[in-house]
């Protein structure tokens, strides 16, 4: 991101002159208090919102200027874990996961096959035919992650993925995201949970009132960089 500013109407900007660079295959925490602009920053990447000023480069392409008709194709390469899950309550777990494949015209049997495979990876293949309201919060979160990953995206954006979970489930979800990252997917996690950042020691970007105030590469990340 280069000099990115986002303002809604005449209100004070939500994001002000953001400059940051996330490399392919990285795991990054985006932190800051509520209202700091974390969710808005993620939305600028998958174009749920457009930057008012500046450039947002995804795989070298400035998506801030992408035409409306190009947005679906960008989103097919970005998996998003939404804070409010966005699961359809009247569709089964497998159908929810397969949704991302349905929209690109994948044949029904392959959709089912891929959905079951990814559900197995998140440990929920036995709940494939269950409706989401029958699942626990942690299970629903894993379904959302499975849906985000079923397309094998290059980037995974997770907005407060552990926000509503107890500590045991938080670890479970975070381990899953680390596993996804280990397989080559770039992962950006927005969270205000300091303990999470402490525990996983990843590169951390801190936002406050729409401004990027600090960057901590994390002990483990720094160590890895030295080893490289």
């Amino acid at each position: 991101m280069f000099h990115v500013t986002k303002a809604f109407g005449n209100d004070a900007p939500t994001l002000v002159d953001i400059n940051l660079d996330i490399q392919k295959g990285e795991f990054v925490f985006l932190t800051g208090p509520s209202g700091a602009g974390k969710t808005t920053l993620l939305k600028l990447v998958f174009l749920a919102e457009r930057a008012t000023r500046g450039q947002v480069l995804v795989s070298g392409r400035n998506v801030a200027r992408l035409r409306e008709s190009g947005i679906p194709y960008l989103r097919r390469n970005i998996g998003v874990v939404f804070q409010d899950f966005k699961l359809l309550p009247n569709r089964s777990v497998a159908e929810n996961v397969g949704f991302a494949l349905d929209v690109i015209g994948t044949p029904r049997d392959i959709v089912r096959q891929k959905a079951l495979k990814i559900l197995k990876r998140v440990g929920l293949d036995h709940k494939a035919n269950v409706l989401p309201p029958k699942l626990s919060g942690g299970e629903q979160q894993r379904v959302v992650i499975a849906r985000a990953l079923v397309n094998d995206p290059a980037i995974l954006l997770a907005d407060e993925p552990t926000g509503n979970l107890d500590p045991a489930l938080t670890v479970e979800i975070m381990d899953l995201l680390c596993d996804v990252n280990a397989r080559g997917t770039t992962v950006v996690v927005a969270t205000h949970d300091a303990s999470l950042i402490e525990r996983y020691q990843k590169r951390t970007l801190r936002l406050e009132r729409g401004t990027l105030v600090s960057e901590d590469r994390g002990a483990k990340a720094a160590l890895l960089m030295v080893q490289r």
Binding site: L88, F99, V103, G105, R108, R147
Partner: protein, 297 residues
């Protein structure tokens, strides 16, 4: 392609199944409009038939001056046959007097007291349906009047012009009425479909967030519009058929001169196909309007 078509069909039918009330309202509105259209078409066809039957007697009579040569009469007959396509008949003064006497009945006796036959020679043309146009008959009579041996021309101008005006007026009224019904129905269908779309807004939002194009989002709703059109056309067709089969004999009893044909002849295959095409067009138009408005917002 097949996978998408199958997905759209499943989504469309699933949507209709999950939210039946909205779709029933849309189908009922469409069916009522189509039923009205069908009734108007049937009534129009009957009125056309009636106008045609009333004009069945249309005849053009050319009265000739005394002393017209038989060659001129023969030429006139040939020209009239060619121009109108109708059969001609030369009526002598004696034959004309005989007819008049017959028409007058007992009072016709008075005609025998006339010294000389005052009636002229004339040529009668039985006009076929395609030659009954008031405008062209007016032009023909003017041409005939210009001939030196023609005394007068009569073709019931007033009656023909009135029938033509009536037929034209009815057609215009039915076009205007249909345009109003057509637009109103599209608005109603669009409004009901918008409710269906609103009920599925969450699903559409997620579809778009995981990479669905607008075309992909639109397709199942357009399909729903088409299915509604087909179902409403079937309903309207069935209702018209029932009305024709059970209602037409009752109507014929009350208004004897209508002489309505049997039910199956009133509701023709052509009319059913028109209902189907119109139903699909209206359902599709309604869903196009509704989805466009939703995607814009």
């Amino acid at each position: 392609m097949i996978a998408r078509a199958s997905y759209f069909t499943r989504t469309a039918l699933g949507g209709m199944w999950r939210d039946p009330f909205v779709h029933v309202v849309a189908i009922a509105s469409l069916a009522i409009a189509l039923f009205g259209f069908g009734l108007a078409r049937i009534a129009g066809a009957q009125i056309d038939g009636l106008v045609s039957a009333l004009g069945g007697e249309v005849e053009l009579t050319v009265y000739l001056k005394d002393g017209t040569s038989p060659e001129d009469v023969a030429k006139l007959e040939a020209a009239l046959q060619q121009r109108t396509g109708g059969a001609t008949k030369v009526v002598s003064p004696a034959e004309a007097l005989g007819r008049l006497s017959e028409q007058l009945g007992t009072q016709g006796q008075a005609l025998t007291e006339l010294g000389a036959n005052p009636l002229p020679w004339s040529v009668e043309v039985m006009l076929p349906a395609q030659a009954r146009d008031a405008e062209s008959l007016k032009a023909l009579s003017q041409t005939l009047r210009a001939l030196t041996f023609v005394d007068a021309v009569d073709y019931g101008a007033d009656a023909l012009e009135r029938l033509a005006a009536l037929s034209k007026g009815l057609r215009l009224a039915s076009v205007v009425a249909f345009a109003v019904v057509f637009l109103t129905t599209i608005v109603v269908v669009a409004a009901t479909l918008q409710l269906a779309i609103y009920a599925r807004r969450e699903e559409i939002e997620i579809q778009k967030l995981v990479g669905a194009t607008n075309r992909f989002v639109r397709a199942p709703f357009l399909l729903e519009g088409m299915v509604q059109g087909v179902l409403s056309a079937l309903l309207a067709g069935a209702a018209l058929w029932a009305l024709a089969v059970f209602g037409a004999p009752q109507a014929a009893k009350v208004v004897a001169f209508l002489a309505l044909p049997s039910g199956s002849k009133l509701v023709t295959l052509r009319l059913l196909l028109e209902l189907l095409a119109l139903g699909v067009a209206m359902g599709l138009s309604g869903s196009v309007v509704a989805v466009r408005r939703f995607l814009r917002s």
